[in-house]
Symmetry: C2
Subunit: 343 residues, 2 copies
């Protein structure tokens, strides 16, 4: 049997943390996998040195996951095409705004029997609505694409603290192979036949986290926060089941569902900035500059994208929490309406 | 049509808070309900005066819900039989250790067309296993019994902060009637055809909260906590679906399910005492004395009851989290095993 060769496309905080795991696993399961893993690194200078050179010299992503060694079977590669050469498994873990660019470069260069899995959060906004990233990759490259998402704060996983994740697979044999590639004693993988459900949970939970942050800012107490989280989870499910096919109820019981929603609503930047929005009355744009170094907040952006889709289909009243969160963030609606307009 | 007359059996913190709501609702829906509500109060002396007299004079449960007025259509009654006379709806909200005593007194005195709903948390431990409180009441009194449970901290509801609850009904018409009796603008009621599922969530969530507290004490981070909560919710579901019939997956998406689990795992005494158990290494019994004025912790007690049931059926390995929590609380197992023994 031919062994699988893994290539990782992306090398940020999450990409580096998950590559540490895979690099150990391909060695442990040497009967299934080739030893060496190429990791595509978007080249940049760090202290006047190329990041790829630093990674390959120090076996550490000194910029995005400092303090954690990468196994020495990981090789940082600045050229995308070189990265994927001979690979039979592609792991996509770039920020979602880079997906199209990456796919355009890879188009026509990937064999149709290559397996792929996407760890990317977010949607691709297209004319027809919100397209799952796995579909974008799949259409460009003409390959099956699985998804992985869960309550996975990268640094806690690098610290080898116990956590879980979920893989949505297109066929069960592939799902089991990916499970072997990703699972460790402290990083537990569940697999489920629902690629889109798994990945969209990772995008939509950020909207719910904005809602949780608003409730925190209003100091409305534990009952209210739990209610908003629950309603948010149900609107996530309804949104997915309205606009996509094959979404399973069971997906929401997995790590990608409730667990990730909980983590995002009690920790995480979306909750934090939304709380500050209520407390300081500053607009989100200003808070992004002050609190996130100008990075865009995912939750408010996704709330807007979701609102546009529901509005276009005249369904915004079917999603009262999502719609209210959008209006609070973008339309000047008073934060207090969050619990009034969902009744 | 004959109007319904409501009697409340119980007058603690939660009983008083929910009676405030019902007392307003029976007036608002005067076409369906008689105006006056009897509330059974276990007589005791407060500052040398009878509690029932104080409540009826001040329209406030000065001992268990001080600071919140009870509408004046609520009458505190020290005699149980007098309380339920003429009642067509019984609302049970006594601590679960008093259920049998109450039922024995009421036995033979309740017409079989009386409707009942139980807000009581916990099991009745019998020789055949763990019996839902609604079954106990139903068997004693030969009436249908619905259940109500949710993310409902009593004082937050008395403060009229937004929250949700769930009613498990035996028939939908009755479910809708109870919804009218309990729902307000700020207290939203969902109804579902799953009496036992709703009530047992309220009992089992305390075991999960012990697990969450242990993780907090170990400072294992957000991923781990979310994972333990998720696994806990799934063991709750599995336990119920193994030992009871008619439990619906959908129940766990309601307020009684995920929302109540979340509230209990981030606030609440079970979480707090379990955290202290890890940090101080004192036994639970001692912590109960120090932190709870000697009151018993519900979560550890339920963990033990659940363990005995699963052990008797040789199924304790099917519930690794519940079993590990039991062993940490009662068998001296190291708290760190909480994430090792569930893999």
């Amino acid at each position: 049997m031919k062994k699988e060769r893994v290539a990782v496309i992306g090398s940020g905080n999450w990409g580096s943390a998950i590559t540490r795991i895979m690099a150990n696993n391909v060695i442990e399961h040497g009967n299934l996998f080739e030893r060496d893993i190429n990791m595509w690194v978007f080249e940049e200078l760090v202290n006047n040195r190329k990041l790829t050179e630093l990674i390959n010299e120090k076996h550490e992503n000194v910029k995005y996951l400092p303090g954690y060694k990468l196994p020495n079977n990981v090789r940082a590669v600045p050229d995308l095409i070189e990265t994927v050469q001979e690979a039979t498994i592609l792991v996509f873990v770039v920020p979602h705004q880079f997906v199209l660019k990456v796919c355009e470069k890879l188009k026509g260069k990937i064999s149709s029997d290559v397996k792929a899995i996407s760890l990317i959060k977010g949607f691709h906004v297209s004319e027809s609505g919100l397209k799952p990233i796995t579909h974008v990759i799949s259409e460009y490259l003409n390959i099956n694409v699985a998804s992985l998402s869960g309550a996975n704060i990268a640094n806690e996983i690098a610290d080898e603290k116990f956590s879980e994740t979920t893989i949505g697979y297109t066929n069960v044999k592939e799902g089991e192979l990916f499970k072997i590639l990703f699972q460790t004693k402290y990083f537990r993988v569940g697999i489920i036949d629902d690629v889109v459900g798994v990945e969209l949970c990772g995008a939509l939970k950020n909207v719910v986290a904005i809602g949780a942050g608003i409730v925190d800012g209003l100091k409305m107490g534990d009952n209210t926060k739990a209610a908003v989280i629950r309603i948010g989870l149900l609107e996530m499910r309804k949104f997915m089941q309205t606009f996509y096919s094959g979404i399973k109820d069971e997906t929401f019981f997995q790590s990608c569902g409730i667990a990730d929603v909980i983590t995002s609503c009690y920790g995480g930047r979306n909750r934090k900035v939304a709380e500050a929005f209520v407390l300081t009355k500053k607009p989100f744009e200003q808070l992004e500059k002050e609190m996130l170094n100008g990075q865009k907040l995912q939750g408010t952006l996704t709330a807007k994208e979701v609102y546009q889709v529901t509005k276009r289909k005249d369904l915004e009243k079917e999603f009262p929490l999502f719609t209210t969160i959008y209006r609070i963030a973008y339309d000047g609606l008073a934060p207090e309406r969050i619990v009034k307009d969902i009744v």
